[in-house]
């Protein structure tokens, strides 16, 4: 690995070790562009990475970051946000990490409308562990752990997060970087729990859902063909899984974020709260 770390606002870390042609490159490029558009510098926000090919981006972006355990990036991100509500927090994780190992956390993070942005690299396969099925693998997909084809149907991350209370859910494609940049910027700017499910071909282990496969199916949502504020319409769109696949903002709504309800944070972020407290008033009830 060639160390060429800099702390310039270009966010560049090591050169990626992903396979040539990997969809991660597109997401990486989109993220860096989005951060610039958002006016971020590497110290002004935090990224929590999951474990997987996508999580390896921790070394390819140079940003204040927490490289978590597999599946656990969401609770880390929630804790960071509660501790420092002023710090933008972004999660970068894969489909296996967020929809498999950490699936329970996704449900509850959405319910809480925690003000974090989750960018999921959805390649429908486990890359880093050399090609087993992901929860997003299409039924019947043959892989090392399911040689006769996966029996389960694929998870529906958009329907799941919309139904569990996420307030911004979008779908992007690593083969369309400009569109993805806009989605990431909107997701980060959204006040509340935002999830961008990014379709990403795995050129090494998934020969079914290729760039070509997606290009034949994707179409873009716009004001003309979709109203993202309507949850029923959003859920209908979420059911378009294999025939036509919608890209864009599927659902967007407003409700108070988790930290809005914490009066402990009314006057200052938690990290600035004074530590020494007069214990007398806490002790009185025990006398």
């Amino acid at each position: 690995m060639n160390a060429s770390t800099t702390s310039n606002p270009g966010f560049s870390g090591y050169f990626p070790t992903w396979c040539p042609g990997c969809g991660n490159f597109g997401i990486w490029a989109a993220l860096k562009t989005a951060f610039s558009k958002l006016g971020y510098n590497p110290e002004s926000f935090a990224i929590v990475y999951g474990i997987g090919c996508s999580g390896n981006m921790n070394d390819f972006l140079w940003v204040n970051s927490f490289h978590a355990l597999h599946g656990r990036s969401l609770p880390n991100a929630i804790g960071i946000k509660i501790a420092n509500r002023d710090l933008p927090v972004i999660v970068i994780a894969g489909d296996g990490d967020c929809y498999g190992e950490g699936g329970n956390h996704l449900i509850h993070a959405a319910r809480g409308n925690h003000d974090i942005t989750v960018i999921i690299h959805d390649n429908r396969v486990y890359g880093l562990t050399t090609g087993q099925v992901a929860p997003t693998a299409i039924k019947g997909f043959k892989a090392k752990s399911t040689p006769s084809g996966i029996i389960e149907v694929e998870i529906n991350p958009v329907a799941l997060s919309v139904s569990q209370g996420a307030t911004f859910v979008a779908q992007g494609f690593s083969g369309d970087i400009n569109h993805l940049v806009d989605l990431i910027v909107m997701a980060v700017e959204h006040r509340g729990f935002s999830l961008v499910n990014v379709f990403q071909p795995c050129v090494t282990f998934n020969h079914k859902t290729t760039y070509q496969w997606y290009r034949e199916r994707i179409y873009k949502l716009s004001n003309d063909n979709h109203d993202p504020s309507d949850i029923t319409k959003a859920l209908n769109k979420s059911l378009e899984l294999e025939g036509k696949i919608p890209l864009g903002v599927i659902y967007k709504n407003e409700r108070p974020i988790y930290t809005d309800s914490l009066i402990q944070l009314k006057d200052q972020p938690l990290i600035e709260a004074k530590l020494d407290i007069d214990l007398s008033s806490f002790m009185a009830e025990f006398i």
Binding site: I51, L69, I82, L279
Partner: protein, 564 residues
């Protein structure tokens, strides 16, 4: 439960010491519940087998506990409802006091729950305590519920008081009149004082998933969170609990989690994460009998070695085990300092016995306890400004690297669950790996140099026998010592890990005969001490793992058996 609390507070507000032990089954309501309150003009360290006064709210209590009443003891029971003639041949030299709960409730149109107040009123009379103390306790407890509720409760108390005054005007032969000078005391549970300690230590984030015996800590902190400026989060599972806390800690706030063995088992992977990312965290690990769901509402010290070894890979970890509520307060505060200083997990081993029981403690001992909040090498703004190229995992002599917080200018770094180089980037380089392992391990050496505390010896130094124990079993041994001072002393461990090999070996070698006392079946402290010192301590041991704590009587019996 409030009944036991009130009785304890009647004692402390009258100038006495008190200790509470409770037993209840893992049911929402009902089942057989007991609360034992010991009151003394000397410090009370534990429960005992024999009781002075047995108050039976039902017949089952009498059947189950009559053998525990002392000779010349007293049994308070509703003889109008319960036919006591069938027990006539069992009657020892007890005084029976008829307290017709059921009739009193019926005649006065009271709610059934008033049975507790009737009992408290009766006890107040029988023990010669001042009823005004009980009345003010009720007024304070129900202050928010209004006059009507307060008056109803006081009526129950008054009826119980008057009833036994009529039937048994002499009362019990030992009384607790209010003393001339009452020194203010707190009567507080282990969970509450750990909560108080965390507030004092500046903990600002507590996450938990309910689990006995640590649920009451969650309840306490949740009720005080807004006042203490602490965010208290009941998360979806224990994995989320510890990871939220690690996130909050990385961002800069003192963070704590609380659980029991099963929940801690779920947290273990992230204890390891705290180790490699060098993120401070305090874990309150309330032991209860396992394996698996075990006996949820009972007590055991069965998780010492599990917790000691928790977390894959090698990383420093600090284990503390308070012996009583005063130590629980102080060690909670210290746990936060140690977590910040060593940037590693600090685990406080409690148990049901310590965390759910109430103990009296002089108010001033807590109020005047002096401590410093020490955040270790957490960099202040001006300190970070002086660092040109900040490295989160800088190799240092003491193994501890300066810590900057995300969001600070000049803080650019990553914390990494993968092995990493000094700036946090992932590495698989052999040399870099070894350097970081060595760096982390040096924290243990630094701890041993700067923070080691050897076990404390209680009692007569020249005694022919030394009892070795740890954590909450301190109480029963000290209580036993009151009976038999001079025969044995107690070497008590609160600092469980890391242990200083040389000093400890010397200390153990200097002992006469030893007796290991633990509330588990495999002598886990004994195993640990053997591992560290090579000294076999398991020749004489008293182990109990029935879900009940060790009683002072059992300590004395064992000592007697050893024919010292």
């Amino acid at each position: 439960m409030t009944t036991g609390l009130f009785l304890g507070k009647i004692a402390t507000r009258s100038g006495y010491h008190a200790f509470e032990y409770s037993e209840y089954p893992s049911l929402i309501r009902g089942g057989h519940n007991i609360i034992e309150v010991r009151i003394s003009d000397e410090k009370v360290f534990s429960q005992e087998k024999k009781v002075d006064v047995l108050v039976c709210l039902n017949e089952e209590t009498y059947i189950l506990h009559k053998e525990e009443v002392k000779e010349n003891g007293m049994v308070v029971i509703d003889q109008e409802k319960i036919d006591m003639t069938k027990y006539r041949n069992l009657v020892k030299k007890f005084t029976y006091v008829n307290l017709p709960f059921n009739k009193i409730i019926k005649d006065n149109g009271l709610a059934t729950v008033m049975i507790n107040n009737i009992a408290l009123g009766a006890l107040t009379y029988l023990l010669g305590a001042e009823i005004s103390i009980l009345k003010s306790l009720i007024s304070e407890q129900f202050a928010r519920k209004g006059e009507e509720i307060i008056n109803k409760n006081i009526k129950g108390v008054q009826l119980g008081y008057e009833s036994v005054k009529k039937s048994n005007s002499d009362g019990y032969h030992i009384k607790i009149p209010k003393t001339k000078e009452v020194i203010p005391q707190m009567y507080i549970s282990g969970n509450e004082i750990i909560g108080l300690g965390s507030v004092a230590a500046g903990c600002k984030f507590y996450a938990a998933y309910p689990m006995t015996p640590s649920s009451a800590l969650l309840h306490y902190l949740a009720s005080k969170g807004e006042k203490a400026g602490m965010v208290v989060k009941h998360a979806e599972d224990e994995i989320s609990v510890i990871n939220m806390a690690l996130g909050a800690s990385w961002a800069g706030v003192r963070s704590m989690v609380g659980t029991s063995g099963g929940g801690f088992a779920l947290m273990v992977e992230s204890v390891s994460l705290a180790g490699i990312t060098e993120t401070p965290i305090v874990v309150i690990m309330g032991q209860r009998p396992g394996p698996a769901t075990g006996m949820p509402t009972w007590t055991e010290q069965g998780d010492l070695l599990f917790v000691l070894h928790a977390g894959h890979g090698e990383f420093p970890k600090i284990l503390l085990a308070p012996g009583d509520i005063e130590e629980a307060f102080k060690l909670t505060i210290e746990a936060f300092n140690l977590a910040d200083i060593y940037q590693t997990p600090v685990i406080l081993l409690g148990d049901k016995y310590l965390q759910e029981g109430h103990q009296s403690i002089e108010y001033s001992r807590i109020k005047n306890y002096e401590f410093k909040i020490d955040r270790g090498k957490l960099l202040k703004r001006e300190e970070l400004d002086k660092i040109k190229d900040y490295k989160r995992y800088l190799i240092t002599d003491d193994g501890i690297s300066p810590r900057a917080l995300p969001g600070m200018k000049g803080s650019l770094h990553q914390v990494n669950s993968y092995e990493h180089i000094e700036d946090g980037h992932t590495t698989e380089d052999a040399q870099q790996r070894s350097k970081q392992v060595d760096k982390r391990n040096r924290k243990t050496e630094t701890f041993l140099k700067n923070h080691t505390r050897l076990p404390v010896l209680y009692g007569d130094k020249t005694a022919p026998l030394t009892i070795i124990s740890w954590g909450s079993m301190k109480g029963p041994v000290l209580q036993a010592m009151k009976e038999w001072n001079g025969k044995f002393n107690l070497l008590h461990f609160t600092y469980i890990w890391p242990l200083p090999q040389k000093e400890l070996t010397e200390m153990l070698k200097g002992l006469n005969k030893t007796l290991l006392i633990e509330n588990n079946s495999t002598a886990q402290l004994g195993q640990l001490l053997k591992m560290v010192t090579g000294i076999e301590l398991e020749n004489n041991k008293l182990l109990k793992y029935s879900g009940r704590p060790i009683y002072p009587e059992e300590v004395l019996e064992k000592v007697k058996e050893m024919k010292i």
